[in-house]
Symmetry: C2
Subunit: 211 residues, 2 copies
DNA sequence: GTCTATATGGCGATAGAC
DNA sequence: GTCTATCGCCATATAGAC
């Protein structure tokens, strides 16, 4: 199949580089899928390009033709996963109550996607080490999530919907911590824990909402 | 220094193997210290025996003379760290209020021992993978901690000291999750978070205690 | 775009001298 | 108890043919 004659998903324009044709795009997508699974199972350091290539059914060099390095591949895997999760807690969301519902929906979604949970759990812990290729990514991500949640809880505070003595900052940190910690326990025993239910109980303790 | 003439920490008895003399014991302790630091920094898989040996100042074979394999070394590191932390939440503790104070003391202790926190955070996430050498250790440990805390919260429930609608089981899981999750955030930015203070706020929300 | 072949290096573990 | 030397394996990444 000659790419010049293949159906082109993005209609050709003058000056557009010739690299991005259908075959390449589907191969890249397959690589990202496999890489997410491999990094999820054992983290970044334990996951190998060899394993990713084997799952896709290409050679290591074939893989490296699309992604120049292992760390670059990781970056794109994280970016891609973010796009999936973004629909659950769209930022900015002015209504704090909506954010609370979004969090619970996210927890439910996570329970149906063990791969994503594994990826984030394993990588976030691994990336606490300053030299890790995803260190900055997670640092920024935590700060972004924290400030988004603080904003949501501030909205609830303004409307008198926060429990007594709860501050938006502490509520944001505690909620993130709870979600992260529940995921670890869930990965060790997925039948023993309902992440969304536990999160709901927590949110009902720190707010006056019925969720 | 001839070991036969050295002060023997465990007085010699007939039939006792000759291996365990003072020199060996101090070397082993030094190895465990170094191994804890190395495993804490990058996890088990990324940490190397080479690095441990270099920090102790011996060769890899010298190291492997004391610990037959890398995974065996990890087991002993975990055992040793457990002995240190055991004094903070001695089990069984019949008084639930005492357990709450013990948890806060543990969080304070942890903040003074970044190495221990790194070790547990990184390893517990890495060990969610079933083939990991510490998988069973963490699975048992989570169950043990959960049941110990459930017992403590049950005691509080019996004495009418639990907040409305809080069950001992959910309280135990949520408390563990919160502590774990706070540690991750703390490792990314140690100045932004007071783990003990956040834990205290959480415990005061789910109980009627003044902590 | 994908391949074979290879460079380069770190890893855990063993053999055997001292 | 500690060492040097080495084995065998796996890793990332590059060079160059097709």
């Amino acid at each position: 199949m000659d790419p010049k004659n293949a159906a082109d998903p993005a209609p050709s324009r003058q000056g557009r580089p010739r690299g991005s044709y259908a075959k390449s795009a589907t191969t890249k997508a397959a690589i990202l899928d496999a890489a997410l699974a491999v990094f999820a199972e054992g983290g970044y350091r334990a996951g190998s390009l060899r394993e990713v290539a084997a799952r896709v059914g290409i050679s290591e060099t074939g893989l490296l033709h699309h992604f120049k390095s292992k760390s670059r591949l990781l970056e794109l895997v994280l970016e891609r996963r973010d796009e999936l999760a973004a629909q659950f807690v769209p930022r900015p969301e002015p209504d704090g109550v909506q954010t609370m519902h979004g969090l619970i929906a996210l927890a439910e979604f996570n329970a149906s996607e063990p791969g994503s949970v594994e990826l984030y759990c394993t990588l976030s812990a691994e990336a606490t080490s300053p030299g890790h290729p995803a260190h900055l990514y997670f640092k920024r991500r935590y700060e972004g999530t924290r400030s988004a949640l603080e904003y949501a809880f501030s909205n609830l505070l303004d409307r008198g919907l926060l429990a007594e003595g709860v501050t938006p900052d502490a509520a944001a940190r505690a909620t993130i911590a709870l979600m992260d910690g529940l995921q670890v326990q869930w990965l060790f025993d997925r039948s023993a824990l309902d992440m969304a239910a536990e999160l709901r109980l927590h949110l009902m303790r720190i707010t006056t909402l019925e969720l």
